[in-house]
Structures are given as C-alpha cells and as structure tokens.
C-alpha cells in the first residue's frame, strides 16, 4: 500500500511513534491506515502460531490490526484515529514482530496443533507443555495505568432507535423524519453513508442523504451498539459513544428498534488468507476513497457484483489490477480484462503478499505477482443484535451466509425489532435504501 501520489491532502501531517521510530501519519485517519500507507505491513503476530499479521478488514470484525497503543493492549488500530505522538507497539512477538522466534511454532506444526490431545497424559511432557502454554497464551500485557473516571452512563428514551447510517438506515430515518416520529440513529463511523461512501460504487447507487435535514440531535456518529438488553424499563440498546469529553455508555430505550447494521467483511478460507497484504474488499475501497491509500498492484478474488465494481474502482485510482478471480461466475459483461472464473486461490509470500495464484476454469494455473490480494465476497449479515432481540436467523446455504428472517417490510419474529438492508442477506445499496424506507413505513403503522 502507498499514498496515491496525486491524491488531495486529507488532513494535517503528523508523526506517531512506532516502537521508537517516527512514522508519518495524517491526523484523524485510522492508525492502521497510517501504518499500511507507510509500508508497515506486519502489525502483529497471531495468537497460536505466531504468523505475521497485517490489517485486514478495517471494520473491527477481525483481530489482525490489534496493537498496544499508549500503554493499552489489543487496541483496534483500524478504529483509532491518529494523533501526534501516539505510541504504537506490536504484540505477541519475541524479540520483534518482524523477527519473531516463536514464528517457528508455525513450521513445527505444519498440519496444525491439537491442543486437546497433544502430550495428553505423557508424564513430564504434559507438565512442561502446560508451563509453556501458559507463558505463550494471551495477547498483550496488562494496561500500564488505571482507567480514568468515566463519564456517567446516560439513559435515553426515543420512539425508534435506528442502528446503522448506511443506505438502509438513512432511508428509514428520512421517512421517520418526514412523518415526525422521534428517532435516534446510531452510526459507528465518524460519517454516515456506509458502503455509499466507503464501498465500491455501483451504477444505480442512491446519493447519500444529507443528515442535516434530520431533526437536531437525531443522529449520533461514533456510537457503537454493544447489545440489545432488557431491564424493568423494557428493551434497550446498549451503546458506547465517543463524545468530545470521552467515551460514554448509553442505554437507549425505544418502542421500536430498526436494525440496519449492514454486514461484516466475510472471510474466505484459502491458503495464506491471513498473510499481511490480504485485505477485505471493503477495506480496500475505504482506504482508496476516504484516505487516498491503495496498493500498486492487486489481485482480486471473490464473487458478486462488488468484486467487479472494486476492480473498476481500484484501477480508476491507479492500482494495476493483475487478476480478478471470480470463484462463482458467470462474469458480467463489463468485467475487467484480467477477470476469469476459477478456483483454488492462494496467496504467496513469507511475511507479506508477493504473489497470488488460482486455477482457471480451463484447468490451467495462473500465478501473478502483486502486493495486495483483495477479497470481495458478499458481506456477512450482522445478525447479532437482531438475534439478541429475538429475531430468527437461518443459514442460506446457497449464499453461505446467516441471514435474519424478515418479511418484505422488515418485520421479524420479535414484534419490536425490524430489520433492513444487508442484515437480511444483501443486495445493492439501492435495494437496501428501498427496504429501509419500506421498513420505516411498516414500523410507523404499528406505533400507537
């Protein structure tokens, strides 16, 4: 990855500290972005095999980018805005993440390590193993300092709590605003828009709605939902919001919960899918659109319309796309010139991606040099909140996804929980927006 040479400046240039060395960054961008843009691919070592790990999803849905930041362990650098002077350290490595002696574990156990049966009952070996395992276990050291006193938790009440400010959530909020229904929309990013601002654009994408037209105080950004709980006051959403004075825990009671959290970047289990330089497709589109950071050469793998849209986006920003391996097909008419259907993808490289290979439909193997592999598969619905709220979830074997079961108007098995957008199993942003509006209408109809 590198900063695109002619990209417009995204903010003030600052310096953070990476294990004693200065690292250039842009104020406010995610630390993981600063790191990859500066060519720091290896951010950590994995928990068991000490495999090198670099940023992958940029969506707090994996653990590849965890580092020790300012004395606190296991910080998602993909969610931590860079500030001048921050101290970053890699974790779980000896003597360093670049040369980690424990990396040999990976080679000792080429076929994996069965911690249940390994040395079980072997007199001396089992005791030694228990001691070694205890020392090797865990990620990160205890924080160096106590937590400051926190802002007091706040309890709120609204008619409708909307989770997610992507295409579906915004369209729903627009309907609620027009109908004068009080609502509170939570968006975990600094800006709303979801894939409309961070994904690979599709032709029929709707425009991002302007939240300025919504009633004041009805949109809360940088607020992360952590659970759909209940207490004597009924059901409430637990959330953690980043306010100017710091983090605050919120309890949001509502009559209806409209869940449009989208999906998590999916994981494709292929050889070396965890190598630094392998990125989720939506991470690549986020980096290029929001931060002007992109690989020089990339191979793309996955399926679905976003895969091919991503190829177009990357190429438009100067990345040389050397292969597009569509594992499902058929290829769309406007597919990239290097696109072909195929199988058996594999990333190659010792500490970072150097090449990518796959088997083409004609049975011939294709291997290309590249410095990034971008994995674009349909996002995996964030069903967790809905399930906590009592909605049913089922596995769609055809698409390989868990989806929340809902009527066309967003109703679920739980009378106060409605869903729209990717959480029901995907579709385009246009479809998500239509579902959001439809769901808001249905929900209003049931409000007394």
């Amino acid at each position: 990855m590198r900063r695109i040479p002619d990209a417009s400046p995204r903010g003030q240039a600052i310096t953070v500290d990476l294990e004693g060395e200065p690292l250039p960054a842009v104020e406010g961008e995610p630390l993981a972005c600063s790191l990859v843009a500066a060519g720091e691919d290896v951010l950590a070592r994995s928990i068991k095999y000490h495999r090198p790990r670099g940023a992958f999803c940029f969506a707090a849905a994996c653990s590849h980018c965890l580092m020790r930041v300012d004395g606190l362990p296991n910080i998602y650098t993909c969610r931590t805005p860079a500030r001048a002077g921050m101290k970053l350290e890699r974790q779980n490595a000896f003597p360093s993440a670049k040369v980690d002696l424990f990396g040999t574990i990976d080679w000792f156990f080429p076929r994996g390590l069965d911690h249940h049966e390994m040395f079980a009952g072997v007199p001396v070996a089992e005791k030694v193993m228990a001691k070694v395992a205890r020392q090797l276990a865990g990620l990160g050291l205890l924080p160096t300092h106590e937590a400051p006193p926190r802002l007091p938790a706040r309890s709120l009440r609204t008619r409708v709590a909307v989770v997610g400010g992507g295409a579906a959530g915004l369209a729903a909020a627009k309907v609620l605003a027009e109908r004068g229904i009080p609502f509170l929309l939570l968006e975990r990013e600094a800006r709303v828009g979801g894939r409309l601002t961070r994904g690979a654009p599709l032709q029929d994408d709707p425009t991002v709605l302007d939240v300025a037209s919504f009633p004041k105080g009805s949109v809360l950004t940088r607020a992360h939902a952590i659970g759909l709980y209940d207490d004597e006051g009924g059901r409430f959403l637990g959330a953690v919001a980043l306010e100017p004075e710091g983090l605050r825990l919120l309890q949001i009671h509502a009559d209806r919960f409209l869940l449009a959290p989208g999906g998590h970047p999916g994981l494709l289990p292929f050889e070396n899918n965890d190598l630094p330089g392998v990125y989720a497709g939506r991470a690549a589109s986020l980096l290029v659109r929001e931060h002007g950071v992109a690989p020089e050469t990339a191979a793309l793998v996955g399926w679905g319309s976003e895969l091919h849209a991503l190829a177009r986006l990357m190429e438009a920003h100067g990345t040389k796309v050397v292969a597009v391996a569509d594992l499902r097909g058929p290829l769309p008419a406007n597919a990239h010139s290097t696109a072909s259907t195929g199988s058996d993808p594999k990333a190659h490289g010792l500490k970072r991606v150097g090449a990518f290979s796959f088997t083409r439909a004609n049975g011939k193997k294709k291997k290309v040099d590249c410095d990034a592999v971008l994995v674009s598969i349909p996002s995996s619905p964030s069903f967790e909140l809905a399930r906590q709220g009592g909605a049913s979830v089922h596995f769609d074997a055809e698409r390989g996804l868990f989806v929340v079961q809902a009527e066309a108007d967003g109703r679920t098995a739980a009378s106060d929980v409605f869903v729209a957008g990717d959480i029901t199993g995907g579709g385009t942003a246009k479809e998500a927006a239509a579902a959001g509006a439809r769901t808001a209408e249905a929900l209003i109809g049931g409000l007394s």
Binding site: A147, A153, V393
Partner: protein, 495 residues
C-alpha cells in the same frame, strides 16, 4: 508455512474444523467449543459464516440445524471501566436477560434414529455428573447405559462455569470430596487422553467483615486437619501473591496454593468419548418427556425419540432436575438460580490464583488462555431457569473487580453469559435413593460447585450402585433429610 485459516483470531484452520467433525462434533456450538473458533477478539464476526458454509457441505446436518452460536454481548470489546459507570439499583431484583435461549435447540439437530428400547441404567443429564458416572460405571464393567442430554455437550452449567477447583470448604465431607476430585483431575489426561489444563495457582479468599473472617479462620483449621495446606495470611502477603490487589476493608485472607482452575469442556468430551468407545450411548438433543411408573419403580423413561425400559434411572440434570423430577411426581427442594459470568480479552499471565471476596461472592481468575474470567452472585436474583445476560451484572461485577484490582479498568470485556446454580436449602447435594421410588437415584443439588465435585462423587456413586455396599454419602445427603433429618449447612459458596 501455508495454512488456510478459518478463524484467524484463534488460529483455527479448515483442518481443525474437519478434525472436530471427525470426533463427532457437528453442530455450530460444539464445533465452536472444540476448535475455539469464534472465541477470540472478533467473537465470530468474520469467521462464523465461513465455518457454517464448511459445515453445510461436510457435516451430517440438516440445513435447519445450522444455527449461529448465541451472540453474546458486548458486540464490541468494551472496557470494564465503562460498564462500571452504569448505575445499578441494588434494592431491585434483576429483570430479564438476553437472549432467551432456553429450549431453543432446533428440532433439526435431534438425531433421526430412535433411542435404544432398553438399558440397565438411564442417566438423565449429559453434564459432567452424568458423564462422569457413566464413565465410572464402565470402569466397573457396566456398559448397558444410556445418557440423555437435552442439548449439545457443554450446553448446561458444566459448560458455563468458571473452572475453579478448590479444597477450601466448610465441611469435612466436601473437603475430602474436593481433594479426591483434584487428584482425579491431575490424572485425567492420562486416564482419558485429553488435556484439561489444571493450573494450581491457588485460591485467595478475602473477608471484609469480622464474621466472614472468623469463618475463614475456622475453616482453615479444618482444612489443615484434612491435610490441606490453607493458611491465613496478612494483607501484605496477599499483595505479594497478587500484585496490585487493593486490600482496603479486608479483615483477613486465606490461601491454599493447591487449589486451581481447569478448562471445563474437555472433561465432558473425555468422558463422552470414552463412554462411546465402551458402547455406552450418549444421546444429545434428546428431551425426557415423562416416566412409566408402576409398583413403586420407574419402568420406562420416555423421550421425544422413544421410550427406554430400564432397571435404574439416575437424575443428574443439574438445575433442570426439579422439572424432571416433577414428571415422576417427585418434589425436589432444589431451585435454579441464574449466575452470570464474563470473560475479557486474553492477556499475558499476570494473575496466579483465583481471587474471591467471600462477602460479596465476587470471584475472578485468569484462564490458561489469558482471559480474566469472573462473576459475582446477585442477592436479588429470583429463582427460575434463566440464562440470559444483563447489563446490570456486568456493571456490578466491573465495579467490584476494579475496586479490588484497579489496573484492569481499561481491560475489555469480550463476552458475558450465564448458567444456573442448582441450589438446595443447605447448600449440599441431593444423592441416593428416592423415597417411594427406589430405582430413581438422585445426583443433583451441587449449588454451583458440581463441576469440581463430579469426578469424586461419580466414583463413589458407581461403586455404591454396582456393589451395593454401604456408603454414608448416599444416606447423609438423601432427600429424606429435608423432612426428617438434621441439615448441615455448607457456608463456602461463591459466584
């Protein structure tokens, strides 16, 4: 080295999932526990659909049987100090809990084949008690046994506890049983071929009132008489064992270096795999629906997969035991009580013992994986089968933990869950024959510490059942004591 990772947080490979399948663990919850997938920082966000896709292709599961594992709050790693900022009204009882997960095992997971038509012994409950008993029966040559379990292995309290094992008890009988259990745990891997990761870091009990302090002192004397090296220690000595521990308000502390923590799940897998090899049937996802009773004996156990004629029935269903007993018109004095628990992000080792404040029931330890695992009972918790999670618990626990160990304020909670204690009026178990129903044997009422007692209790129960020789345990703790006998109360209950 080339590997295909399916859960990068925990370094679980595609091959690891296949290995779990080869061991017979096919449903998502079981595969999660056996491989560890989805237990890392991301809690399954990136990996779960990939695992499910693999299971849908390679596991003998109906499509409706592929259900995601229970999504636990918090959905994003959240600091203990933030949870501690939530106000709690201690005068009110906790209400609710999410998700309601009782009775939610999809029928699609129920095996299609009928259960055996008869067996000598039917054990109701495939938790650690039932499986340990089946194992011990097999050692004594009795393999005509069927174990019935309503969910997957580990679905009940045996899969939900904090893994603490201790000899520090308040009565001789419990001290002796715990000692024997820990001995058996030490040789478990040798006997059953699976690691249980016993780590004897000790139990450090703190007392914050004079009354509780006296109790610790009295019990320490009793422990010494039984050869348990418990000692009453000073605040400074306690801080040496756990650096950073605040001792404000602590009157006294007791420490036994031989107590410890284990990893609970492998016990169930180890026992179950052995039983299967010996021909014992372990029937998961199978519900008991009633009994055929005549002439003062249980003749058949009825299940939703058919009836089983039998000579002896053992009720080892933990917190579900009163419900099952009712089907035989037997009233147990046991009551289920929810106890919540949580686990944090994994950290490098920093905490040796399990620490418990006996006054409040707060306990916390560091697992072999590095997580802080802990809980705290809620005196207002109403009786009832409830395994939902509340924000109230995390708030109470976080506050109490940070008060004791301020350095963990920034440590992040990864997940919370709950299990049910099986509480009896005297905090002691219900064991032995049922009055007026001679061949229904009771094995329940362990008040949250059944896990650590199971290896020893099951050993004695199997001996008693197969030899018929007198064992005072099954008289002392007989159901009769609640109507006719004298109750001897156990006072070292935590969690």
């Amino acid at each position: 080295m080339s590997k295909a990772l399916i859960c990068p947080c925990e370094d679980v490979t595609v091959e690891d999932v296949r290995h779990a399948l080869s061991r017979g663990y096919c449903d998502v919850e079981s595969v999660k526990r056996y491989t560890g997938f989805g237990t890392g920082i991301c809690q399954g966000k990136s990996c779960q659909a990939a695992v499910a896709a693999l299971l849908s292709k390679e596991a003998p599961l109906k499509p409706q049987g592929i259900q995601p594992f229970t999504p636990r709050p918090p959905l994003f790693p959240t600091e203990l100090s933030l949870f501690a900022s939530t106000p709690v009204d201690e005068t009110r009882a906790p209400v609710g809990g999410v998700p309601e997960e009782l009775g939610t095992f999809p029928p699609a997971l129920r095996p299609a084949a009928p259960v055996p038509q008869k067996a000598k012994v039917v054990i109701i409950g495939g938790g650690v008690m039932g499986l340990a008993l089946a194992y011990n029966l097999s050692l004594r040559g009795e393999t005509d046994v069927v174990v019935l379990e309503r969910g997957y292995l580990c679905a009940g309290a045996s899969g939900r506890n904090g893994g603490g094992v201790r000899m520090q008890w308040g009565t001789s009988v419990n001290i002796e049983m715990a000692k024997r259990s820990i001995d058996l745990m030490k040789q478990f891997a040798r006997d059953l071929g699976i690691n249980v990761w016993l780590r004897q870091g000790g139990y450090l009990f703190l007392a914050k009132s004079e009354a509780v302090a006296r109790r610790l002192e009295r019990n320490a004397d009793l422990h010494n008489k039984h050869g348990v090296p418990t000692r009453i220690i000073t605040a400074d000595a306690a801080r040496e064992i756990v650096p950073g521990l605040t001792m404000k308000g602590v009157v006294t502390a007791s420490f036994n270096p031989e107590d410890g923590v284990i990893f609970p799940w492998p016990f169930l897998w180890g026992y179950a795999q052995h039983c299967l090899k010996k021909g014992i049937k372990v029937e998961t996802f199978t519900n008991v629906t009633g009994f055929d009773i005549s002439g003062g004996l249980v003749r058949k156990v009825k299940t939703d997969r058919g009836d089983i004629a039998c000579d002896t029935v053992v009720l080892a269903a933990g917190a579900w035991s009163p419900e099952i007993a009712k089907l035989a018109d037997v009233k147990l004095p046991n009551e289920p009580h929810r106890h919540e628990i949580l686990s944090t992000e994994p950290l490098k080792p920093f905490l040796g013992p399990l620490v418990s404040v006996l006054d409040s029931g707060l306990y916390f330890s560091q697992s072999m994986r590095g997580e802080i695992v802990g809980g705290m009972g809620d005196p207002k918790e109403p009786a009832g089968l409830n395994m939902g999670s509340t924000l109230r618990f995390v708030a109470r626990f976080s506050r109490a933990l940070i008060e004791q160990l301020p350095q963990v304020g920034h440590v992040k909670v990864l997940r919370q869950w709950a299990g049910c204690y099986d509480v009896t009026p005297d905090n002691n178990p219900v064991l032995g024959r049922t009055p007026q129903l001679e061949n229904l044997l009771q094995m329940s009422g362990f008040v949250g510490h059944g896990f650590m007692m199971a290896p020893a209790v099951a050993e004695r129960m199997a001996a008693w059942m197969t030899t018929g020789e007198h064992d005072e345990l099954f008289h002392r703790f007989n159901l009769r004591r609640f109507t006719t006998g004298r109750l001897e109360r156990e006072d070292m209950i935590i969690g």
